[in-house]
């Protein structure tokens, strides 16, 4: 049973984070030993191994010609498998959602929530602990996958990665974790909001599908309505594309794929029509690579956007959770 409780807060005693690490430890132990995570980890390792193996096979011929050979491991695709990054874009949300969609409502339904909240901790610690545990678990899993990719790269290509390649792929790892954070926070929000874990899972997946499948189309459509092409001028086309891009960036998937592009294709200089048309021809990139700092500057807003989305979603769950009356 959930009900509004009048807020009207007062100064509180003690730290809001009392007990935080106990919660993190307990939740991480749950995640790491659960069957659910085992399945997802196996899936992740399998796809990583498969795609990277195929990529390495097709890259072996170009060893020595490409400065960013290791980055290609992530992006090169060879039939029948898509590129590793193609898998990541949906594996990461899947893992993140699977981690937190039943974390609060599950405790409610098992009737452990009121017992835990009767301990000398604040709700802040419980909720944040659950989020952190999810984030750490995700970090652990993704780092393992990265190591696997690098290991396979070393074994199959026979050359060590360069310093910039390592730096770029580590930043890419970090961005992937942030991207996962958004979905963790979303599923956490639904697990606070919905009493039934199945509802929360479905809602999270619905949001993910919406952004994956529909948001791009909707953004295009909206842009066409907002900035119609009257005379078919290039300026008009570009202006419309700008608007479409801005709208598309409301989706964490767009933000993430832009970060991914900029980090993994060092010569990428701009996004949208201009950037894409000018620079990609069948996966081959024309133009000199940007220094890492420039690439980073290019995606700084996107990275901040991902973090901001996470913070916003977490804040909403926090407010909802504070106001809930726990009777079970």
């Amino acid at each position: 049973m959930a009900a509004r409780v009048e807020p009207g807060r007062i100064s509180r005693e003690g730290s809001p984070w009392t007990g935080l690490w106990a919660v993190v430890a307990k939740e991480m132990a749950d995640y790491l030993t659960g069957i659910r995570m085992l399945i997802l980890e196996m899936l992740a390792v399998l796809t990583a191994a498969g795609t990277v193996f195929m990529a390495a096979e097709s890259l072996r011929t170009t060893v020595g010609q490409d400065r960013f050979l290791f980055l290609r491991l992530f992006t090169v695709q060879r039939d029948p498998l898509p590129a590793f990054i193609g898998f990541l874009a949906f594996l990461v949300p899947l893992i993140a959602i699977a981690l937190t969609f039943d974390t609060v409502n599950g405790e409610f339904n098992r009737r452990t929530l009121s017992r835990v909240l009767a301990q000398p901790i604040y709700r802040d610690a419980l909720l944040f602990g659950k989020f952190l545990a999810g984030l750490f678990t995700l970090t652990l899993v993704l780092t393992a996958i990265w190591l696997l990719v690098f290991g396979m790269g070393l074994a199959r290509l026979g050359v060590p990665p360069g310093g910039e390649e390592v730096a770029r792929s580590l930043l890419f790892l970090l961005a992937t974790i942030f991207y996962g954070g958004v979905w963790l926070a979303l599923a956490l929000l639904f697990s606070v909001r919905f009493r039934q874990p199945a509802t929360a899972a479905l809602a999270s997946i619905a949001v993910w599908l919406f952004f994956t499948v529909f948001w791009g189309i909707i953004a295009q459509g909206l842009a066409q309505i907002l900035v119609p092409l009257r005379y078919g001028l290039v300026q008009e086309v570009l202006a419309q594309d700008q608007v479409a891009q801005a709208l598309a960036r409301l989706s964490p998937i767009t933000l993430y794929s832009e970060v991914m592009m900029a980090l993994l294709y060092p010569s990428l200089r701009a996004f949208g029509l201009v950037g894409v048309l000018l620079q990609f021809q069948e996966g081959v990139i024309v133009g000199a690579p940007l220094p890492l700092s420039q690439s980073l500057l290019l995606v700084w807003p996107q990275l901040t956007g991902l973090i901001a989305a996470t913070v916003l979603l977490f804040a909403i769950s926090y407010i909802l959770f504070q106001r809930q009356e726990i009777r079970a």
């Binding site: 009737r111 452990t112 009356e325």
Partner: protein, 316 residues
């Protein structure tokens, strides 16, 4: 500790227009076992949630061990053990692991925690099964694990919501003994329940809730006197002159009522236990006594009578 363990003043909780708890003034003294009684939806759980700071009162004040649960929730919660209605555990963890988590949340140092956990499990008779997943536990074992869990924080007050619900009579009796043990250890206990005969067996005092208000409060005897008039009923079986025996029973000091129930059976209601006097009266009236039986005032009667009157009052 001096001063009451629980003290509320005009404590009120509203949900919209609905008043779940209405101007409650409750005092529970150290070492007492206090029973919160009342039908479903009368506000017992809501009261408990306010005592623990798990929900905020609409108005009025609460003090638990002199602390305000809304302002000092951590201090209150580290001193009070709460066993919720249908207590739940992590089924895939063992009893010991469940308790370790709780000990960590309470910030009890590891060594100390392990010692307390062993002690608590031992005391609740769960030592042999401590390393089994709680999923395999019976209802009664879970309830005892609930007590073990609150014991590890060495509480001065334990609050239980419907602790014997769903227990078989034997397990319920054992659980009541547990409550007596807790009292013997000097722990104050607040029990919310609607299983009156069980509450009656362990509570020093009870408060009767009705639609959010505490309508009656006191020892079971006092309530019986107040509601039933005479608190004690004695059933007398005797052969002899009926009119004379009945008359003699009626004239007993402290008797409030006496009546014949068939040819050889009488009932006397009194403010105290009148067995001795009744036996003498029967003999003096020329009858011979066959049997004498005291029916202690029962909370069930108090309850039934009270709500009967309330209903009548509303209809009339």
């Amino acid at each position: 500790m001096d001063g009451p363990v629980i003290q509320t003043q005009e404590l009120t909780k509203r949900y919209g227009d609905f008043v779940a708890v209405d101007r409650l003034n409750l005092v529970v003294e150290p070492g007492e076992v206090f029973g919160l009684l009342g039908p479903n939806g009368s506000g017992k759980t809501t009261t408990i949630l306010m005592l623990l700071g798990l929900t905020e009162p609409t108005s009025g004040t609460v003090r638990v061990m002199g602390l305000d649960p809304a302002r000092q929730p951590l201090s209150v919660k580290s001193r009070v053990g709460y066993i919720p209605d249908q207590v739940g555990f992590y089924d895939d963890l063992t009893a010991r692991e469940n308790l370790i988590y709780i000990a960590k949340l309470n910030g009890i140092p590891r060594e100390e925690a392990y010692r307390r956990i062993d002690e608590a499990l031992e005391q609740m008779g769960l030592k042999e099964v401590a390393d089994r997943p709680v999923g395999t536990y019976s209802r009664g074992m879970r309830q005892r694990l609930g007590v073990a869990e609150v014991l590890i924080k060495r509480p001065s007050l334990i609050i239980m919501d419907e602790p014997t619900l769903g227990l078989d009579p034997e397990a319920a009796r054992e659980f009541l003994n547990t409550i007596r043990d807790l009292k013997a250890q000097g722990i104050t206990v607040l029990v919310a329940s609607h299983l009156l005969h069980q509450v009656q067996a362990v509570c020093d005092r009870v408060g009767l809730f009705h639609r959010g208000r505490m309508v009656l409060e006191g020892t079971v005897e006092a309530l019986a006197r107040q509601v039933l008039g005479g608190g004690y009923r004695v059933y007398v079986e005797a052969v002899g002159p009926q009119a004379a025996i009945l008359e003699a029973l009626r004239r007993l000091p402290d008797a409030t009522k006496a009546e014949a129930m068939g040819s050889e059976r009488y009932m006397v209601e009194g403010r105290r236990d009148l067995r001795g006097e009744a036996a003498r009266a029967v003999v003096e009236a020329g009858g011979s006594l066959r049997a004498l039986q005291l029916e202690e005032p029962s909370l069930d009667d108090v309850y039934a009578r009270y709500f009967q009157e309330v209903e009548h009052g509303r209809e009339g």
